[in-house]
Symmetry: C2
Subunit: 344 residues, 2 copies
């Protein structure tokens, strides 16, 4: 077994630990945000962490009615012309906390007097030191280069912050269900084998929308990192505004669907690309109409759509792992990349 | 000749016309923005227009020190939970002005009292009617489904707004040079033929950074729409945080480089992927070190980096057109898409 596969399996426990150990910090962050009433959120991140930022764009939007901007780090580094961040809550997400460009966004934000939060697996990292508040993921060391447990822990950390800002009993109960939902996803590992064959070519398209656009991006990245498949994710509406032209019979398409408000949109695109002769496979959490069980892996986690990116990320990781293994690759050590990437 | 190729050629004239005819509207928008001092900008767009929004993220950042958030339209439509837009300047960009999701962002913004601006080729469109100010592109009808002249006109419109907010004599002079820079790009059409062969496979990676990340995205979309190549663009730093693992000898890579602050970053990635055995072709505007003339098309437009996305977009369009023609496709009418896409 690889570190990647081991760390995927550690996620229910890591999530339980985060739920327990972060209470004090999350309460302090929530109180501070409620008091300072930020104008909006700015999130700086790279790689998988950037997909967590994308999740926050929808989560903070839907739950907190907050505007989220994803930072362009080069404005802070190469161009040395950072935007005005007055009154913003600026969040840096990084497993290692060591990428200089993400750190520089937080340093500048703090210089400007913005509220700063680091979400990292290393509280002592440069990112942790740059921020006023540090929410430590506490997953234990992640040895695999492709992230798994630090990714879902980052999603959960963001959900905890959202909840601390706007508390809601139903969402609180749902958060407590997350470890169990992850465990349910893990039980489906062998069922995912039936989806592997179509994904072993050179190209894959992954479609999501809303909350699970982040999951689609994360699956595409995992397929690239572990299996060297040229995978590309789109949000359905963006896909229909042009890129859909590339679709031709035979190009495999993965549909990631957490149900909820965008489910009709996902079913509609699934049927449209299926009619073009594309092999379509589905990762689903929730109740979706007319599913073909031979090409679908479906959890019924009971999570609300807002939290399905966590359960579906576990399925996505397991799937990428199986594609890598079937192609004979070791998912732990992708060529060309290292655990800590230092970009400027 | 196709409409696409004809419309590419119309761009210097369209840009000249926009520079002349928009003066009054741009001055009014600039005065209003200076007076209302927005907290930041929110931009709603799809397809090529979304790449114009990406350009604005860097342009308004560097020139106006303004924070730009790209809207997630589904928050306004499917989720019906729009974020708080108080004090924002909300810009909708759409050639047709007819996509309901982009219109709904502007309608909600106006309901919330935000300053709203439509950038469209059709002032009478739903988008034009939803916004307080309309900056009409005035390119004349665009018949080709893949956008060309409306894309560069949208970039120029954004640059005019940026200039109206923070005036600068040097940038004013540079704006007046845009039509001539486009004409210079057009003169290089036949020179682009030497770059076509590596791009006629099934996969292409396009790299840019900063201002020209937008150009990289636009070239990738144009290759998909006109030539059905699965093309994917990355900003260099994001690419190095994982996706670079997919690189293997033989995968063609296009580097889009407008010089300036990110030029060293572009040269470094060019040499890194070249060393992996990838055919690398370059589109350059500016003075770049150690260029291989057999795989590079280079304009020396004299434009500052901030405006090279306009000249380089013309090269990108011409290149996509040549790839389509060499593969025997009519670039005007991509399969599966229409001139007006109505997503919700």
């Amino acid at each position: 077994m690889s570190h990647f596969r081991d760390e995927i399996a550690e996620q229910p426990e890591a999530a339980s630990r985060l739920l327990q150990q972060s209470r004090g910090t999350v309460a302090a962050i929530g109180a501070r945000i409620r008091e300072s009433r930020p104008r909006g959120y700015v999130i700086a991140a790279r790689g998988s962490s950037d997909h967590a930022a994308l999740y926050a764009k929808y989560l903070f939007g839907v739950r907190n009615r907050a505007l989220v901007a994803l930072a362009a780090p080069s404005l802070f580094t190469h161009y040395a012309r950072p935007p005005d961040l007055e009154g913003q809550c600026v969040i840096g997400i990084s497993q290692s906390g060591a990428s200089p460009d993400v750190v520089s966004v937080l340093e500048e934000a703090r210089r400007q007097g913005a509220l700063t939060i680091a979400i990292s697996n290393d509280a002592e990292s440069p990112l942790g030191q740059a921020a006023e508040y540090v929410l430590t993921l506490g997953t234990g060391q992640e040895r695999s280069v492709p992230a798994s447990k630090t990714y879902t822990a980052s999603l959960l950390a963001l959900a905890l912050i959202s909840q601390a800002v706007d508390e809601d009993a139903e969402f609180a109960a749902a958060l407590d269900m997350v470890p169990r939902a992850m465990a349910k996803a893990l039980e489906l590992d062998s069922d995912l084998e039936k989806l592997v064959v179509p994904l072993t070519g050179t190209r894959v398209i992954v479609l999501g929308r809303g909350f699970n656009f982040s999951t689609a991006e994360e699956l595409a990245l995992k397929l690239m990192e572990t299996s060297y498949v040229m995978a590309r994710a789109w949000s359905v509406a963006d896909f229909e505004h042009g890129p859909i032209a590339v679709v031709e019979a035979g190009i495999p398409i993965v549909v990631v669907d957490g149900g909820g408000a965008v489910a009709t949109s996902m079913v509609s695109i699934r049927d449209r690309v299926g009619a073009k002769g594309c092999p379509v496979v589905q990762l689903i959490d929730g109740e979706i109409a007319k599913v073909d069980p031979s090409t679908t892996v479906q959890i019924a986690s009971g999570l609300p759509e807002e939290l399905t990116p966590i359960s579906l990320a576990v399925l996505a990781q397991l799937l990428a792992n199986r594609v890598a293994v079937s192609r004979g690759f070791n998912p732990d050590s992708p060529r060309e990349i290292h655990k800590v990437t230092r970009t400027w």
